[in-house]
Structures are given as C-alpha cells and as structure tokens.
Symmetry: C2
Subunit: 394 residues, 2 copies
C-alpha cells in the first residue's frame, strides 16, 4: 500500500543528534556530543528508598490512573520552590506535570501554533524546540544570540513587522551555547514584549546548575502576564523519569493545555511522580545540587582552560557560568561538519552547530558538552580535537 | 494580553468523562462511570521487588536518558509474546514504547492526518481516540457498530466515495460497548480494506481480559500490510506506569513515528520500562491475568444478571465476553443525560453515551463499567439505577 504522510511530518528530518550519538557510542570515543548529566550523581539509593516508601504506604493508589494535571503534592512542591528560590508566586493550580519539559514544547505548539504563525527562537537555539515546533509548521524567525543574550534590536524590529505567537528562550546557560542573558538584556526584552500578544516561554532546565556568579530574575518577574515557565527534574534528579512541568497563570491557556495533555497521553507516569515527591520530601535536594555544581564547575574549568591552552585565539568560545554546554566558533573557513569527520577519526566527538539553526546555519560552529567526562578525560578530548583541527587550520 | 489559540484546539471540548468523574468521586456514590482496573490486582509487592532489583543491578543506567524506541528487552518481550500468544510475527525492531496506547493515537494522528483527511471510527467509538484525532482536524466518518462488529456494508460504501487514511478499531471487548468482532466480520472487514491505502489501527488494551469464549485472529493475521497494532500494559499490570506500544512493519511509517515521538517527549520513562521488564522476567503474568479474568468475569455476570432481573426487556444490553464495559440502549424516548442526573440523586453513576460519538450521538445509550466494584456493590448499583429509571419509564 502507498502511504501519504501528514504534511507536518514530511519535512522534519531525523534527529541529527540521534544519528551522531549512534556513531559516538563506541567506548574508545571521548564524547562531548551528548547532553547527558553525569550519572555518578543519580541518587540511586535514595530513589530505591523512595520507591519502597511509596509502595509500602499506599501502593495500590500509586499504581492506578491519576489526574491529567499531575500529582498535587508535587505541584505544590514546585510552587513552593518557586517562592523560596526565586520569590515567584506560581500557584500550584497553574502547574501541569509533563513528560520532561520537552512535552511542554509539544503541548504549547499544539494549542498555540497555526500553520504559518510567526514564532521567535534564539539563533542558535535548542534543537528540541526546533523539532517540536516544526511539526506545527510555523514561520520561524530567529533572533541572534550574543554573549549577553539576544540582540534586542532584532527583537524590536521583528515585532514591528510580525505578530509572533511566542518567543522561546532558555535565558540561563542556554543549550547549545551556554549563554546567560544579563540583567539589562532581560529588562529590555521585557520592555519590548510587554505590550504585545507574544508569549515568552522561559525554559529553564539548567538554571539551578550555576557554578559561578549569581542568579538573575526570571522573566516571570519582569513580564508576568506574557511569561510561561517550563521546568524539568532531569538535570537535578534523573532524566529517565521524564518529569517536567509547565506553569502559566493564563487560565484559558491552562485549560487548553490540559485538553491537549489528555489527548496526548491522559497523564504523566503517576508512580514516578510519587517517587520523585517522596525523594524530595526525605532528601535535601539543595545540597545534592551543590555537589553536582561543584563537579560540573571543575569539568567546565577543565574544558575552558584546555581549549584556551590548545587553541589560543584560533577559536572563540563561550565561558558559561553554569549548565552543561559551551559553544565554539571556528574560523569562518572551517566547516564543523568536516571537522566532525576528522575528530571521529581521532576518537573525539561533538555536535556540529548546523542542527541548532532552523534555517541559514553558521557552519563554523559547534557544541561541546562538559558534564559527562572527568576533567582528565576532557583535557585528553580537547587535545584530540586540536589534532583534528590542525588538518584544517593551515 | 489577548490569546489566539490554534484552530485545532478551539473546538475540542473539555473531557466530559473527566467532568463526570469529579462528580462521582464522592464515597457514597457507586460508580460505574470510570474505566479503572480493579486496584486489588496491582502487583504491589512484586513491583517493589522489581524496583529494588533494577536499582541494585545497574541503577545509574536505569536513571539516565535512553532511546526513543524504548527499552530493547521490553520490545523483545512484546515481540515474543505476540508469537506465543497469537502466533504473530512482530519484530521487536518494529515496536515503539509509548506512554500508554493513548500516546500511540496522538503519534499516529501527527504523522498521518492532514486537515480534512477522512478517517473512520466505530460508532460509538473510543472517546480517547475521538479526542486525540480531533486535534488533527480530520473528516470523521462513522461505521455503525453492531453486536458482531462493524456494519461491513457501511464500510464498503464509505470506501467507495472516500479514501480514508485510517480506520481505528478496538475489535476485542470494545470501549465503550464491550462488543467483539466475530470471525466473519473480521474477514469481511479485511477483504474490504485489503486493497486500499487505509491503515487499520487495531487497539487491543482489553484483549487478554477474556472470561468466556475463545480468542479470534488479530487483523495483523488477516491484512498484515494494512494493520498497525497498539497495545498497553495498563489493564494487565498497572495504569500509572503509562506503558503501551505501537507496532508497524511499515519502515517509513516507523521512522516518522520515531521523529514524532522524539519531538513529543524524547522517550518514554525508562526507569518504569526497566521495572516492568524486570517484573515480567520474574513473575508469571499469565496466571496474574487468569486471576484478574476470574474476578472480572464474576463482576460482569453480576452486572448482566442484575440488569436482566431489574430491567427485563425494557432495555437492551451487550453481554461482553471480556474487557471492562457493557453498553445499554434505553427506550428511544429516554435521554441518558437526564437519567444520569436522576441516577446521581440515587448515588449511582455511569457515562451517558453522547461523548462516544464524534457527531450525531444516540442520546438513549450509556456505558457501564463493571471492573471496579464487587458483585454485591454492582447489584446494589443496578438496583439504584433501576429506581432512577422508573422516573422516566411510565
């Protein structure tokens, strides 16, 4: 039989990163390609205790169908944490538990994007957002990301000629660049968006992973009416649980998201929500995060220092104050895809920049992950990368 | 700010059942409304053991990000079970683990349905399918469901004038009616669909819950090229884990589904997949299912017998050989929505038939669930239902 697929899926390419990760799974390869948290910090024993406690307390309830909104106690925990950590008032009634924040993107696309609606993304931007939103066939508009956040002049100009439905941003330690918006860029972005009908989606999976500097205000504080928050437990607890959330005060939007969530999968894995909540109740997640940050900070320093030592000023790099990634800009004549092929021969891998652009990629860029290798391995990997680079830089 | 939602979500109503379930949560109400499995059969202790074994064996691996396709050993288990239980050849490489079979519906809608594409549903049909597919704005076409399966003349006629993308069917113990397609209807449906480009989606969440009669062949045996299989562990293991699957031999379709799954939530909760697999490895799920069937069969008998005793031939009911639901047709002049209001006053609840029709509902129908109450409670509930009914049947 002949299959005619929906238009929305026809243009979406296979995930480039997924393909790369297959190549880089060989044990002899040092991989800076993935976006994996360091598994040494997964609280295995504490999760085991939490599983037992949940099943001993009311196991049958924890195994039954549950509500689309998510586990009430977990929603309350997230609400409370917004208050204590960021002094934000986010009612637990405005939170939906999702399958990682990735599902938040899909649900927002579902309820907000009609074909050809304008939406704004950072350039370069999070690959998962490009993929999710692509399925709803929007008109992608890119705002250049600079070392201190987006180019606000570009933002202002695009808002003069278009009425975008949403601007998707990762303001803290962005994926792929590691860039954090400074205070002035946040405020200026807020001033520009404030009086429009454009939602600002603040995705903040890495915000708690800060090893240097101090926290900056959420857009929720600056433009509360426009801001939708996405969050995730993947980077501070365990990714395999696929637990994240959406928070919005907009009641009409919230109801539409619930309908979309229910149509998508009824509700998120309730047993896992209960286990996570039990873990949070019995453990000090802040000291857990502190331990993660200490090690990630050392790994980040190792990568920044090795890159400077080997490459000097032949490349430009971001120097993130947190998160999991940094971004490299090669000399203009070097194509990072070709460098990738050479690097694989030297047993080191990274993600070329191309997939992080919905269009017009800058071909001389690449992403490095520093959270999944020890400082020593990082140093060796950067050395190999430099050896590969030497093939091109004559 | 003013929000303009995507067209696809504007028309989708809030789930009627969700609203009803709120009303029926009061403890004094006997509820035949939900679709909950009997929680007494959730294998709490065995799941606890499985959690401990998974975390003790390679806990860190079980907590890391995983593949979009799903846990390989679980996919292999499902493939093997198709072979031993149904003598079907379904390669594990053709299986994607999803968040319940509900997510399978969303993914299939995403990759197959363009706006106004024709799709076929049973009438009445599964509410979750109506909801999921609605978001992709298809042209719904309904095929009347009779006591032995769909009306194949209607199917033949609609295929003469339309080219539907898919026909969604629950051939065993259908939700909402409890109807099972007999062999001749299966074969005739197969003959009609075989040479078309219409996929047949066989959703089979209840197939293993048979208390009477014997199993009938899957459409995968009859029209293998057209058939896509959906399955679920919710009814034989635990719903809160949200674990189901899609199986298709169509490689191109499989790849599109993987792209859609990745864009939707990267992958399904991997820890839960490992726990389920560990449970399946160490326990005899067939005798577990046998125990469930024994009790569900008694509950079904209690409901069928009570309905006959109280109502005699004033109503028509289906007499399912398995599953969780039966279907009542009231006299034409009685509106089941009005009966619902009267029934709630008598402290008994059900789901009126209306939401199971994407259009032109038969207003004198209703769904009863028999798996979540003991035979004694069922008898009492049916008595109350009859008392409510007496208000209308003079």
């Amino acid at each position: 039989m002949e299959t005619i697929f929906a238009d929305r899926i026809s243009d979406v390419p296979k995930s480039f990163i997924r393909e790369i990760l297959k190549v880089t799974a060989e044990p002899e390869i040092i991989s800076f390609a993935g976006g994996l948290p360091n598994r040494d910090f997964f609280p295995v024993e504490q999760i085991k205790t939490a599983c037992n406690e949940v099943l001993d307390t009311d196991g049958m309830e924890a195994l039954q169908y549950s509500t689309t909104e998510g586990h009430n106690l977990l929603r309350k925990y997230i609400s409370d944490r917004y208050k204590t950590k960021k002094n934000l008032d986010v009612s637990s009634e405005n939170i939906i538990i999702t399958n990682g924040s990735q599902q938040g993107l899909d649900l927002l696309g579902k309820v907000l994007i009609n074909e050809n609606d304008s939406i704004l993304l950072e350039k370069p931007g999070y690959l998962g957002a490009i993929q999710s939103f692509s399925l709803y066939k929007p008109d992608f508009n890119h705002i250049t990301l600079k070392p201190n956040g987006i180019d606000t002049d570009e933002l202002r100009n695009v808002l003069k000629i278009k009425s975008p439905k949403l601007f998707y941003t990762v303001p803290n330690f962005q994926n792929p660049t590691g860039v954090t918006y400074d205070l002035e860029t946040r405020k200026e972005t807020g001033r520009i968006i404030e009086k429009t009908n454009c939602f600002l989606i603040e995705d903040d999976p890495y915000g708690e992973l800060r090893f240097k500097g101090s926290n900056l205000p959420s857009f929720k504080e600056i433009i509360p009416d426009n801001t939708i928050l996405l969050g995730s437990f993947s980077k501070i607890f365990a990714p395999s649980f696929r637990l994240g959330w959406i928070a919005t005060d907009n009641k009409e939007l919230y109801e539409k998201l619930i309908v979309a969530k229910q149509a998508s999968d009824l509700h998120t894995n309730y047993f896992s929500q209960k286990v996570l909540y039990q873990y949070l109740l019995k453990n000090d997640i802040d000291s857990h995060i502190e331990r993660i940050c200490k090690v990630y900070g050392e790994q980040r320093d190792s990568m920044v220092n090795s890159l400077k030592r080997y490459f000097g000023n032949k490349i430009t790099i971001t120097e993130p104050e947190g998160g999991m990634f940094l971004w490299v800009t090669l000399p203009e004549n070097i194509n990072s895809m070709e460098l990738f092929q050479a690097a694989i021969k030297k047993n080191v891998a990274f993600v070329p920049g191309t997939p992080f652009y919905a269009s017009n990629p800058e071909t001389n860029t690449l992403r490095l992950n520093f959270t999944n290798s020890s400082p020593k391995i990082i140093e060796e990997g950067v050395k190999r990368l430099y050896e590969a680079f030497l093939n091109f830089s004559e």
